[in-house]
């Protein structure tokens, strides 16, 4: 496998976990930039062009809610899990655990 192919597969793998990673970090309110830093500190680097549109999509799906707040004389948009998102998260975690053990067995 060439280096490029390897990178592509890794990218695909990471893409699959982004939604769950984002939802898992939004139990408390975060604005976009703080979320990207938090994920980065945990080891998941997400491109800004991927994260911000994703946050909007999750909000339009009803899993997140957002509100604008003025902080230090400028507005910031804060995202947090909606009730629906909170209900969904434990089920997603369960699903993830299942996938991990299945893959552990397989590998």
């Amino acid at each position: 496998m060439t280096n490029e192919s390897f990178e592509n597969v890794i990218l695909e793998l990471r893409r699959g976990v982004i939604v769950l990673a984002v939802l898992s970090q939004l139990g408390e309110q975060q604005y976009g930039y703080s979320l990207i830093k938090r994920l980065s500190e945990s080891g998941l680097e997400i491109d800004q062009g991927t994260l911000y549109p994703l946050l909007r999509r999750l909000e339009s799906q009803g899993l997140l809610k957002s509100d604008w707040r003025i902080e230090a004389d400028r507005p910031r948009r804060y995202y947090v899990l909606s009730d629906e998102g909170r209900n969904l998260l434990p089920r997603l975690k369960e699903e993830w655990t299942g996938i991990v053990s299945m893959m552990d067995e397989m590998l």
């Binding site: 604005y31 976009g32 930039y33 703080s34 800004q48 062009g49 549109p53 507005p75 910031r76 948009r77």
Partner: protein, 358 residues
Amino acid sequence: MNLIDTYVSEVGRHLPKKTRADIEAEIRSILQDMLEERSQKTGKPVDEEMTLEVLKAYGAPEKVAATYLGERYLIGPRLYPIFMLVLRIVLMVTGSLAIIGLGIALSQTLGNSQNAFETILKAIANFAASIITALGNIVLIFAILEWALYRAGGKVEVKGLPKEKEWDPRLLMKISPPNRVKLGEMIAEIIGCFAAIVIFNFYPQIIGFTPSLNGVVESGNWAVGFGNVTFTPLLSETFFHFVPYMTLVWALTIILNIVLLRMGYWTAVTRIFLISLKIISIIIVAAMLAGPSLIAVTTSTLTTAIGDADTARILMIMLTQFVRFALWITIIGNGIEIIRAAYRLATNNVLSITTGKS
């Protein structure tokens, strides 16, 4: 207006009005966060150079806007198969009409090679123009449909596309090669039947000939109007008695072909319908063979037209034989079609009993 504002409004230019202000505000906020962090890290105040670095890292405005838009299509994957089907049908119809038009135009320029050459060139130019117009119109209509579907958020079912839950793998047996409807064949038959209905019912005068002023026999009605020449129909009254029955068969053939085009494959019912139509056709043609002459022209009218009795007599014999030959060919052709359809009907039944129900 500072650099950030210019950048943000440039991103906004590529966004739909509905969400523009909101996304612009969000991007502005993110960029300010990035600048703030960079300023803290470097211990330097925000300046133009730092702003340029942050904007470069954030990406080209159109690329940033594209991430908010998702994938957009002029004609998307959902509509593409129908688009291609419509395109093929329209191109085939346009092509056929162009060929028919060229045939008529060429016969009007009989004996004049220069005019014929001009006619062909004109026909090619007209054909190219009609293809481009047709293509443009179809793309426009589908682009509007795609836009409407995009606006509806993909909640609309597209008619004509198979729905996921209706998908039945047993359909594959029905659409195995012998049962698959051949698009070109169907469309050609529709065009042929339609042309026959129009010509025999509304323009029967096309089929005939007119002795022109210089004594040359010209076919069709374009010589009508030159002096006192009279148009002589080629086909007799007897033939036109059969036209209503033939029209019925042609109309039913068109309906059958449209149904088949929609379904995409032959079924037992459509095959039985086809066999019935072919049997009716054979009965009509057999009645034509058994009845009085279908040709209105006689040896004497031909002699008047050509001016030579012997040639006229030979031509008359050839014409009569040709008509009989054409009728027999039609009967044989229909017979072969019946045998073929009956064979497919029988073998498909065996298939569905042995493999379909197991």
